[in-house]
Symmetry: C2
Subunit: 419 residues, 2 copies
């Protein structure tokens, strides 16, 4: 491997790089003639190359020292690639069914070589916009979240392991700061980066900036995000970080990974599903009124949480006598107490999930980075109506989250928002 220092790759230098890197060239049976290379990065931050030959394929992802969609004016450490590679490997360790394999990592080059998620894999968000049902999505995502979060929490880690891992991921501070800014701060203040569907939502965006109770609640969530090392979270688990086919679900792009509150991941996923729901009216046409699809989305929200709950508590029960030190079996030694502690833990986690989910929804409507679900609705007034419904719901959810006891109540509230 020849990696003397960092250089941004292009299609040409990438071939040289692959030649010099056995872990990559071997995937192509060392046959580099007729290689097809395509840059497909549609994300906000990095460059992604699909590399395909007749003998094999992989994806190369490279981080440059700035944010791609903004440019060199917003610098961002390329060390994020190290945390992405580390998180990918750790998540794959616990959930190999739903995380692509890392073939190669080059820290200096901020470069990851990983499995190419071949067609018909598409980004879930695009599937949701197209109105495609994924019957296994809730099953798979609940599995990913239950396993990656459980096995990196103190329910499974002993304290020594946990603090070592927490310390390591403290290094991913620049990405944490970015989240702090774009999720918990910018939407609640005037910021050059904020955007909204203007002029329709100008007043709504202003109302967010003037809502004392909302800001009070957001402060609590931000503190939790900054202070609470509950588990290794993905950190960016929206529907654009999931690639799907009818029977495969793969989670990519954990470059924001660090030890944070579990609810931030679960909330990101569920919040983005609810955004997809509120966007559906904007995609309805005479062929498809999207009514059934909206019901499928809500069923998926419900099943995701309920299956997560089931799997997470099953892992907890299974590993009760394991290495985890949070609930020692000699103390939590009767079934009534075990039920009581789990119920409290899961109830708190639901409330965190709803809070973070709501915050993630809000920031996608009045913050810097919007979602294609809404952006692809061409008629601005129609788009604004969809966004406003989502915003009203999210504000309510953030403020009232502690009143919800079960996910069915949340789903009911979504439906009521629209009727």
């Amino acid at each position: 491997m020849t990696s003397s220092g960092f250089r941004p790759l292009d299609d040409k230098s990438l071939v040289e790089y692959i030649k010099a890197t056995p872990a990559l060239s071997s995937k192509l049976a060392n046959q580099l003639d007729g290689l097809q290379i395509k840059e497909v990065g549609d994300g906000n931050l990095n460059f992604v190359y699909i590399v395909v030959s007749s003998a094999g394929s992989f994806v190369i992802k490279q981080a440059l020292p700035y944010i791609r969609c903004i440019g060199e004016s917003w610098p961002m450490t390329k060390e994020r690639a190290y945390f992405e590679a580390t998180a990918l490997r750790e998540q794959r360790r616990w959930c190999s069914d739903h995380v692509p394999e890392v073939y190669h990592f080059d820290r200096e080059m901020a470069l990851i070589g990983m499995r190419y998620l071949e067609p018909p894999h598409i980004i879930l968000r695009k599937g949701l916009i197209a109105g495609i049902e994924y019957p296994l999505l809730a099953e798979h995502m609940s599995e990913f979240m239950a396993r990656t979060l459980f096995f990196t929490s103190l329910l499974y880690h002993d304290t020594t392991e946990h603090k070592r891992a927490v310390a390591e991921f403290c290094g991913n501070v620049e990405l944490c700061r970015l989240t702090e800014q774009v999720v918990f701060s910018d939407p609640y203040k005037v910021s050059q980066y904020n955007r909204c569907t203007s002029p329709y939502l100008d007043r709504d965006a202003e109302a967010v900036r003037e809502d004392n109770i909302l800001k009070l609640e957001v402060a609590e969530l931000k503190s939790m995000f900054c202070e609470r090392s509950q588990a290794l979270i993905h950190g960016d688990l929206h529907t654009g970080s999931v690639m799907v086919t009818a029977d495969s679900t793969q989670v990519i792009d954990p470059e924001f990974g660090f030890y944070g509150p579990m609810g931030f991941d679960i909330g990101a996923f569920i919040g983005n599903l609810i955004l997809a729901y509120f966007a559906q009216d904007g995609h309805a046409d005479q062929v498809n009124d999207r009514k059934a699809y909206k019901e499928w989305i809500l069923k998926t929200v419900e099943q995701t949480w309920n299956l997560f709950h089931k799997k997470f508590t099953a892992l907890w029960n299974e590993h009760r006598n394991g290495s985890g030190e949070a609930y020692l079996p000699e103390i939590y030694n009767n079934s009534e107490l075990q039920l009581l502690t789990q119920k409290k833990y899961m109830q708190d986690l639901l409330h965190d999930t709803l809070g973070f989910g709501a915050a993630k929804m809000i920031r996608r409507i009045v913050g810097v980075a919007h979602v294609e679900d809404f952006e692809s609705i061409v008629d601005a007034s129609k788009r604004a109506n969809c966004e406003r419904q989502a915003l009203v719901f999210a504000k309510m959810l953030l403020k009232e989250r502690r009143k919800f006891q079960a996910i069915t109540e949340v789903v009911l509230a979504v439906q009521q928002e629209q009727s």
Copy 2:
């Protein structure tokens, strides 16, 4: 400085060490004849030497790779001295009035040279047992806690600084584990290390081990202790870590320091004051019924919290436009909202304080390490009565902590427990 590897010191080799260490010998004007050396470690973990000559003085504290009061059968990293030295310096940086100066630190030798807190300084716990009033105690301790906690929290730190410091103190994991065990676990299970005033309290200790609601609440506190990096806490802030005279208050022994929940420190101090209160009846005699002293202790509890509240929020207001990123002034931009957020923050902190304080009380009655306040009551049945009152109060406080809105209500509850 000659420090090739680690060796436990004794009176003799200590003199050689001082000779070879300019930072120490200079404190004695390089005059080492007629040196007086006395080992005074009365703590549980380490060795402390007072070194005095006609020209000057200091204290040498050395950590051995085990727990002193148990012996080599309970190993404990001597690296704790590094975290103690680091915490002492950081705390002194923010509160030089109440933290002794570190003259010298030798990491390999796990050895700290610091200011000798000369007579009449005594350990506060001993003063409380003797019935001595310290009119400035609440003023000083509230100052120490407000300043060390505020300046190491995200109210003052930016995220980058905070995560760097959090990561560093993750290294103090062995001491954190010890706290987890002796404060949050052992008292709630059968453990070879637990002790209580037997047979009087046998049934009470058993009741603690069988109290589901208590265990449910302790789990929440333990999680917070393990997961929440709110500020650099002292980690062992009982009344045996404070040395006092009529006008000086000095906090020593932060070897358990790490980034944890602020309430753990405030609770430790207040909880130990309440233990001192419940011990007073055991120290009463015909000369002194201790009634007035008990009132002074309660007044000190009340003032400590109220002054802490005042100073902490004053620092917050003063640094509102500073480097801290938790509450950006552009978001928390009106006085109603500022009041609202502070009120919520301080109310949560009070509840954490009461929870941790109660847990610290309980562990001193049915756990491994007891307090001299009770131990010095010779009559076992009398001692058991004092301890039982404290235990009943602490259990109530731990379970009902969220119902208390102000410290006066807590003080009232203490008084009611005894009437």
